[in-house]
């Protein structure tokens, strides 16, 4: 008889439900913010290095309607392409933020800095990108995607090279706006955003 390998089975995901904000963005849920200051409210301190940008957008369902109950998180490198906690990373840049979208319009807005290119394990560089993670009622497993910037050369990116249907790549590229970038995320339909199994 073979020995068992002894790995533990992972805990399954469940939807965050309509009230995900109580635990993640308590102020948005209507809780008094004093005992429950929201983690991830600010992405950087005033002296963080890099270009200030705003990321705005909406999350759109299969009927074309904006989700008004989604909770979004972002995770990104600093201006030099280093993640918080890595040696040499900008201590004034946390890299993480979360937001409840506007309960009426579904709009979101993150004030952040433009990340640098990120060194990969093989020594190559991934073009600047921001990881988005979504949780909401009806989303059984949190959805993971990436936002890239329209001005960057994306041709060498190993992850984008894995996408078989090249006409879908545009769903990962933000649009330039006056003060930053717009990134709408579509859960279904002709322009369904690429989500990653990660």
């Amino acid at each position: 008889m073979m020995q068992k390998l002894g790995y533990l089975p992972m805990t399954p995901s469940q939807t965050g439900g309509p009230y995900v904000h109580i635990g993640t963005t308590p102020e948005a849920a209507g809780l008094d913010p004093s005992p429950f200051e929201q983690l991830g409210k600010t992405i950087f301190e005033g002296n963080a290095k890099g270009e200030r940008i705003a990321l705005t957008g909406r999350v759109i369902d299969g009927h074309g309607a904006a989700l008004t109950d989604v909770m979004l998180e972002i995770w990104q490198a600093d201006a030099n392409g280093l993640y918080a906690g890595q040696e040499g990373a900008d201590p004034a840049f946390y890299g993480f933020a979360r937001r409840a979208v506007d309960f009426t319009t579904g709009a979101f807005r993150f004030e952040t800095i433009k990340p640098g290119a990120v060194k990969q394990y093989d020594g190559s560089y991934a073009p600047p990108h921001v990881t988005f993670w979504l949780s909401a009622r009806g989303i059984n497993t949190g959805l993971h995607t990436r936002m890239y910037f329209p001005e960057d050369d994306l041709s060498g990116d190993a992850l984008l090279a894995r996408v078989q249907h090249k006409d879908r790549l545009k769903t990962l590229i933000a649009e330039k706006t006056e003060d930053g970038y717009r990134f709408d995320i579509r859960l279904q339909g002709d322009d369904e955003t690429i989500f990653f199994d990660i």
Partner: protein
């Protein structure tokens, strides 16, 4: 090569499109997810220091209550360990919970269920795991409540959990249910998980040994996040 999260096992997580849970129908991607080996963007993750998590944040009996008062309901201790698939404890993991009160009502501006709000209960707590990956909360057992998925559907008592491990690619939001609840097998949301063993792993066990006599009844719920092929990241040990 460093990093490299374990691949997700098939059948553990619910598929996106699960018509028995109606809201998933218009909110589920129809294309297959694109898979790749994790990169530094997924192998790293935010760290939350003790400074940003308050001492009483894990005590829902009192963290929203007036001084000297306490939330109403069946008092429970909820505890467990956060581990990865290799069985390694994950220290300093942020665990956030939210739940309805003992009557089944959430303190959320969008919840209008007729059960009363408890003025001494916020329904929100958070903590960091200790060196052994252990976490503790004190709270009340939430009530069952109706929801509009069908003409007469009731969610089993449950507590929502959000867990950050050491890597953003481990990110997990889930729910725990309570041993012995007759509503569990009827729940379309729990039913989104195809595998019966996986569903059972979301049921917290009555833990009589940790129960405080004449005070609070204990339940234990362990969480297993994705594992990693690396024991250490390039510049820092896991969990820091």
């Amino acid at each position: 090569m460093r990093g490299g999260l374990f691949e997700r096992p098939a059948g553990v997580n619910p598929p996106a499109f699960t018509p028995g849970y109606k809201t998933s129908v218009l909110r589920s991607p129809r294309h297959t997810l694109v898979s790749f080996n994790s990169t530094p963007s997924e192998d790293t993750g935010p760290a939350f220091g003790h400074m940003r998590v308050g001492e009483a944040d894990n005590d829902l009996l009192i963290n929203y209550a007036q001084p000297g008062e306490t939330a109403i309901g069946e008092r429970i201790i909820l505890h467990g360990k956060v581990l990865d698939e290799s069985g390694r404890p994950i220290p300093n993991a942020l665990v956030e919970i939210w739940q309805a009160n003992a009557g089944g009502r959430y303190r959320h501006k969008k919840d209008s269920y007729l059960a009363a709000l408890d003025p001494n209960f916020g329904g929100c707590g958070r903590t960091l795991t200790d060196e052994d990956g252990h976490y503790w909360f004190r709270t009340v057992k939430p009530g069952a409540y109706p929801w509009p998925n069908g003409p007469n559907e009731w969610r089993p008592a449950h507590i929502h959990l959000s867990i950050f491990g050491y890597a953003f690619g481990q990110r997990l939001i889930t729910q725990l249910y309570f041993e012995g609840d007759p509503l569990i097998p009827r729940c379309p949301i729990l039913g989104t998980i195809p595998d019966a063993d996986a569903r059972d792993r979301l049921v917290a066990a009555l833990d009589i040994q940790q129960t405080k006599p004449m005070d609070a009844i204990a339940y234990r719920f362990d969480v297993v996040l994705r594992g990693s092929r690396a024991t250490h990241f390039e510049n820092r040990p896991e969990g820091l």
